[in-house]
């Protein structure tokens, strides 16, 4: 495998809040190779979105980020502001979950594309306009030229998401960070957007990091997956390996709890308890309180990420009990 495009090492994010420090992300490691699609899955509060935003340093002043984010070997977290700015939106672009709130409501779409081109290219006005039309066409927006003058509220939900993707693609990034890009959309539109993203990855040779809470989306869209729980990385590996034989009790339980896997109207196998709170530090494994495989050590010691196969690693003391294919869950 080539040197990874992006390498995240021991990433930590702590938010200072009036009620004390919140450890949103804790000791996270993962890599993204060129042209690769990585899915980061987790439930709300698992830190997946924070992770994504920490990469181009988009978190606000109340967040403290530690660790390293190596972009082609260079630590983005230590980059001077101007170089970081050139990287953002240039090599590393991002799309957000809610296009309605991520697009500036008072600027026409054309201008929102144009300003990226001004920031990252040396094109003249006419060329930028042509490029903007081309970009809208690329993401499947019809009569692109007329649409440039329109404002976000004049677009439908799916169209807005396409427009945002067009903006992100403007400077031909090598990596696209997508934060739940389809969560706000209907399933048929989600399908369209996901297929659009995959097409772009192939055609433009981009890498894509796709954050989502939907295991199904990951299953159909990603090459590799990273599963997060309570700010920590549980398991990472190819989609087939992780979903086919999870090596972390949380991944395992999550997959088992999904409906549509067993017989209709049978009881599901829920994960007991409630999602974790991350405003207090956890000594051992964060999942231990809800884990059916928990052992005494899980409550006291933090499991380290261990490789189980080429590119498949998990951080679970009970990993040896797991790994069997889930009957009926995944073909």
């Amino acid at each position: 495998m080539n040197a990874p495009l992006l390498e995240v090492r021991d990433l930590g994010v702590v938010f200072a809040t009036p009620r004390g420090a919140v450890h949103a992300v804790d000791g996270l490691d993962f890599t993204v190779g060129a042209g690769e699609v990585l899915g980061i899955v987790g439930e709300s509060g698992s830190g997946k979105s924070v992770t994504l935003r920490a990469i181009p340093r988009l978190l606000h002043a109340n967040a403290t980020v530690s660790g390293q984010v190596l972009w082609r070997g260079e630590d983005m977290l230590a980059l001077p502001a101007e170089r970081l700015r050139r990287l953002r939106g240039g090599q590393v672009a991002m799309v957000f979950q809610e296009p309605m709130s991520a697009l500036n409501p008072v600027l026409p779409i054309g201008q929102q594309i144009d300003e990226v081109l001004v920031a990252h290219t040396s094109l003249d006005g006419r060329a930028r306009r042509a490029r903007a039309v081309e970009l809208l066409g690329l993401v499947g927006i019809a009569s692109a030229a007329a649409r440039l003058a329109q404002y976000p509220h004049e677009f439908s939900g799916g169209m807005r998401q396409r427009a945002m993707i067009a903006i992100a693609l403007a400077a031909e990034p090598a990596l696209l960070l997508a934060d739940e890009p389809t969560t706000a959309l209907d399933v048929t539109i989600q399908d369209q957007i996901l297929q659009l993203l995959l097409r772009l990855v192939d055609e433009l040779g981009m890498a894509l990091v796709l954050v989502t809470h939907d295991l199904g989306v990951v299953a159909e869209t990603c090459d590799r997956v990273a599963v997060m729980y309570a700010g920590r990385l549980c398991e990472t590996g190819t989609v087939g390996a992780v979903f086919g034989g999870p090596r972390h009790a949380y991944t395992d339980a999550l997959l088992r709890s999904m409906p549509g896997t067993g017989t209709a109207r049978e009881r599901l196998v829920p994960i007991p308890g409630q999602p974790p709170r991350i405003d207090r530090p956890v000594a051992g494994c964060a999942f231990a309180p809800r884990c059916t495989h928990a052992r005494p050590v899980c409550g006291t010691e933090r499991p380290r990420l261990t490789d189980w196969a080429e590119g498949h690693a998990s951080a679970c003391f009970a990993a040896d009990e797991l790994g069997a294919p889930l009957v009926g869950a995944v073909a």
């Binding site: 700015r85 953002r88 809610e98 008072v106 300003e115 404002y151």
Partner: protein, 312 residues
Amino acid sequence: MNRSTWLLLRLLQVIPTFLLIGVAVFVLARLLPGDIVSSMLGERASDAAINRMTHQLGLDRSIGAQMLSFLESVARGRLGDSLAFHVPVLKLIGDRLPVTLLLSGMATLIAVAVAVPMAFVAALTANRWPDLLIRSVFQVGLSSPVFYVGLVLLTVFAGWLRWFPVGGYGDTAGEHLYHLFLPALTLALSFAAVVMRSLRASILQVLTAEYVDFARAKGLRGRVVLFRHVLRNALIATVTLVGLQIGSLLGGAVITESVFAVPGVGRLMVDSIFARDYPVIQALTLVLAVLVSLALLVSDVVQMWLDPRVGR
């Protein structure tokens, strides 16, 4: 609905508002107690003189008839004569209105010129000392009564230091600005505080908006993010507020003009209330209300210009 029709409708909307204002003003003025005529003529006037004057003013007709004739004359642009000065009310107001407009305009300018940069500094240093300092100063400004501030400024800067003239209005344009500076400053104080608070809050809110993060993610320069994305959006709410505040501003002018002996409509209002000069009170309330609704109109138009979502 496109924006020009929206604008047209917004303009048309002014008409029923004006009509309502007219009725409200009439009712208000007619409620004034005390026999206005005997108040006008003084304690020594004869009953005959009072009856004569009452008849002349049409005050012996029915309320409904008085209202109709009032509305009719308003529609014809005739607001009657001042009972005290015996000149057409419109002339009286017309002479003073520019003064008050200039005063309010200067106050608005001063307030905005001070509040906008300060709001920026405060928002960008939220909860650190520059923010706390700015907020404290403005908070005190907001809590200070106009009449007292006016008295202090007048005494210190005009009376003792002689930097500014003591009230009045002057004769030339330059003198107008010079004379109105202190009153405008007085008036601007609480206005600036309101604008600053609101703008600071909007900026803080906008700073957390996703589109600002997205703008940063696009690799835009800090300046571009701040002005194109943050300020413009933050101003939208503030523009509405400024429009709504014009009313308070004119209210403040009532007091400020009295303290600084500025010959504007605010002082005329106070004088007329004490003199029970009905036609003037009526016309002034009408004019002030119309002014405010025009200010609201302007702020709506500005808002439309700033915010493409309006009117669609």
